[in-house]
């Protein structure tokens, strides 16, 4: 033992003097140089453009808070924030509930469990564009299978125009997002479930605990941390959702599914008002920064960095 400790001491000392001290920094140069040039520089420059009237192909001149003032007075923008909140909260709730359920049923031993787990992961491995186009076809008003099934079981008697009806259009987006996003919750929570000691459940069985009691008193408290972290991470991606909405409804009907990113895309790319498009992202930044700082705190504490 003493020799090992001595060796460790020597080893620490070896790292200190002279050129060796710069070794860790050298290893980090390529990555941080890239991030500085391609991520931070453009981002800061972009933020500064949000104070100008920059349009595609045009010159930028300083207009102060002009873009921001226009935005907060723009009903379409405010509606897009409301729609983002609606979409993200409903979607996250379903992903979380179904994800917990998926993890719990997969945590039970049964024949074919490994195959079931692999199969349930497939939606989440598909490219999002593929998943979204698939749902666009399933919900199609002409030839779509969902209308057909609903007619078969007698819930509806006429084809529904899913993407053209306000509430239903939002529902299709949520369904597509939940279908693809649930396995992320499922697999993360399952990984945590498998670390819970079986002793707790055995002790509970001896005491005659019911299934739901075991769930609420043993399972749930042990996965709370994972639920918190997974939900936070997924909330960034859900608030950030673009292609699901853009490809399914394009934001219609009447802006009823136009989430923040679709609004920003239309403003920046279709109306060519780059400055105002960036201002939309800048206004959302505080929310993202808050979520990111919560995640950082949580995950760095977990790993004792």
């Amino acid at each position: 033992m003493a020799r090992i400790r001595k060796f460790r001491q020597n080893n620490m000392e070896r790292q200190l003097p002279g050129s060796k001290k710069s070794f860790p920094y050298m290893l980090n140069i390529p990555m941080f140089l890239y991030l500085a040039c391609v991520l931070f520089m453009p981002m800061i420059w972009g933020i500064s453009l949000s104070f100008t009237d920059k349009a595609i192909g045009g010159e930028a001149s300083f207009i102060g808070l002009g873009n921001y003032i226009k935005l907060i007075n723009d009903k379409e923008y405010l509606l897009s924030l409301w729609k983002t909140l609606q979409f993200a909260s409903i979607s996250l709730l379903f992903k979380l509930l179904l994800g917990v359920l998926m993890a719990v049923v997969l945590n039970v031993e049964f024949k074919g469990r490994n195959i079931a787990r692999a199969l349930l992961l497939i939606p989440w491995t598909l490219p999002n564009v593929v998943a979204v186009l698939n749902w666009k076809w399933l919900f199609a008003s002409t030839g779509g299978i969902i209308n057909h099934i609903l007619k078969l079981v007698g819930i509806i008697d006429k084809d529904i125009v899913w993407f053209g009806t306000a509430g239903l259009a939002l529902a299709t987006i949520i369904v597509a997002n939940v279908w693809r996003g649930t396995p992320f919750f499922g697999i993360s929570i399952l990984a945590k479930l498998q670390t819970i000691s079986k002793d707790y459940y055995e002790a509970a069985d001896i005491d005659g605990a019911k299934v739901w009691q075991k769930f609420f008193y043993i399972t749930l408290p042990s996965i709370m941390d994972t639920i918190f972290l997974t939900t936070l991470m997924s909330s960034i991606w859900t608030i950030n959702e673009f292609e699901t909405v853009w490809l399914l409804t394009g934001g219609g009907p009447n802006g009823q599914t136009q989430v923040m990113n679709v609004y920003s895309y239309k403003t920046a790319m279709a109306s060519m008002q780059i400055g105002r498009g960036i201002a939309v992202s800048v206004l959302a930044m505080p929310v993202f920064l808050l979520i990111i700082s919560l995640i950082t705190k949580k995950s760095l504490a977990d790993e004792k960095m």
Binding site: L27, L35, V38, P42, A116, L119, N134, E243, S299
Partner: protein, 275 residues
Amino acid sequence: MQNKLVTILHRITVALFLIIALFPIYWMLNTSLKTQGEVYSKIPTFLPKNPTLNNFKYLIFETPFMNALKNSFLVALVVTVLSIIIAYPTAYSISRLKFKGRNTFAKVILFCYLLPSSVLYIPLYIFVSRVGLSDNIMGLMLIYPTFTLPYVAWILIPHISSIPYDIEEAALVDGCSKFKIMYQIIFPLTIPGVISTAIFAFAMCWGEYLYALVNITDTQAKTFPLIIAGLIYGDLYPWGQIMAGSIIGCIPILIIYIASSRFLTGGATAGGVKG
């Protein structure tokens, strides 16, 4: 009695999950093998009456789809390899070496990984056009590491940390240089982690849509998500072709996913797909 009921409920739940997860995929395959006439027939058929590969043939020979697949593949491959090469030393230094600012570096990496593309796509659009790479897959190769690099570094850190310190100490005793330890001793031990992160980095680039949509308008430079999404126009969408394209687009992902499933360990790498 209670146990039996629970078991039945459990099996039903598993079955429901499987049906919901797999039905859309079965329907995609089913549609891709139908003629346009059958796709739009009054009563949808659950198996194609006259299975045909015409949708695949049309897509492969009459549209720029194959070229788009090649573009997607090139972009994803180059970005993945570069990301591993660049992110590995960073991950190594953060999990193994003690230096001032290590904590901050870790925080910056996590920050970049979580930063959504909605914040970056417009600035990067301007950046790419300034350096003259719009309408060029090189532009995408320049952009995609903004999300793959932090992801790869962040996921590799715990992988490297899980390797016992003793191995490194033994190598130091033998007089191994630090570079040698990093590349010839620790890197081979990290291979399972590297493979699973590489797969997800590849998948992230392969299916990426927003950056490609904003930066690429030239058909020659389009990636496959743009081409299949671009088939949506007019009054009657060619669903057979769109589904055929979707299936071809899934195949590489599913192949590497199945082939490497033994490396894909639980939730550790799960953040690779954002959903």
